[in-house]
Amino acid sequence: MVKVTYIAADGTTTTVEGEAFSNVMQTALDNDVAGIVGECGGSMMCATCHCYVDEAWQGKTGARNDGEDDMLDCAAGEVKPNSRLSCQITLTPDLDGLVVHLPEAQY
């Protein structure tokens, strides 16, 4: 299992255990974490699973995937350098302890 902490825009912090090689969006939905919608189910067809990777983890989550920039352009929340679509962050074992921040709105 891979531990992930979600910090909502209002500061609410939720830490859950995700399955290795699942992704940050699916783990949020599986654990009923509010603030991530994931409308298209991880097909990179929407931008409703937007998150901000905590600065301490940016090196490990890597760069955005092909096409992710384009979808993020239409995200409801402000897009920052550490913005990612959480469906595109795979929970590899080295991400154990990952912290992501959530935008105020997803649509």
């Binding site: 939905l29 654990n31 009923d32 298209c40 097909s43 920039d69 384009d70 979808m71 352009d73 239409c74």
Partner: protein
Amino acid sequence: MDRIVIIGAGQGGLQAAISLRQEGYTGALTLIGGEAGLPYQRPPLSKAYLKSGDAAALRLRPESFYDKNAVELVTETWVDRIDRAGRVVHAGDRSFAYDHLILATGTRNLRPPIPGAERCLDLRTLADAQTLRTVLDSPKRCAVIGGGFIGLEFAAVARGLGHDVTVAEAAPRLMARVVSPEISSYFKDLHKRLGTVLHLGDPAAEVTGAGMVLKSGTEVAADIVLMAAGVVPNAELAGEAGLEVNNGVVVNDRLLTADPDISALGDCAVFPDPTTGRPVRLESVQAATDHARLIAKRLIKGEDMPYAAVPWFWSDQADAKLQIAGLAAPGDATHRRADGAIFRFADARLSAVETVNNARTHMQARKALAGPDVSRAALAAVDYDFAALA
């Protein structure tokens, strides 16, 4: 309001439950579904699931969600009747009283009246997809009736797995109902390149133990025949309850039926297109979930807003991601940009943009379509570059 009942536990029905709780609804909430198990996503059934077989990945919310949010999920239950006067829904020997009822009954597969249709397999439910996966365990010759999204997504996956695939489509081009001739042609080339045999303008006339026979007389030998000829809305419950039905459950721009205690959403609902006012019924995740959010806001927050979301659709076929923003009528004019993006126009107004593997343009189009009308002249003046639009 103390009792809300939702009929239909697909993505739209579940979203209604999620949104009602998010908006602060604290009363009783019942979600009635015909299938077994937890609500799941349908779009991947003809895409990722067909390849991976990972049913757990389809689940929309874990079991704990329903307890935590006090959503009473009633599965494998088909509603028989709506008693509008008594505000009660009857299902077998059970009944569910409501203050407000949300119809999210979706659609079912169309079965054209051709001999042997009962021999066909379907691809609509998880159970259908599981059956197909089992059948595709060994090399098969697959015949597909219908060259729309589902038939072509299946064809692409089946070819990818090494099966022989033949698609018969009644219309002269693929996905004729939803995309421009240019996009149809792109996908015709793609599927031919993949090795799929296409018969256009030549519908299946009969299904036999040996495969299918087309209208032209052509015989297609096949081990399995998939019926993917479109859907019909599940609107009988509403019709029998005296609500207006015309290609689906008719609602107004608030997604309310003529009965102020009954709303309808998603694939089963016919609503006024926000741009043109003409009645439309959309088969998409986007419409289902946006409808659900609007209904929840109206019921719980009293927000009296007309439905105004920009429609969008997608389809994955082999390495081609087709995305459609907006809604074009079949006769809308077409402009093909140099990079292949297709712009559709209803008279002078931009109605839709169709792209393949071009998420940037798709998202730009969704933004543009959400604003005031975009004219063809304005787009032409900037070489159809949204970024350069004033």
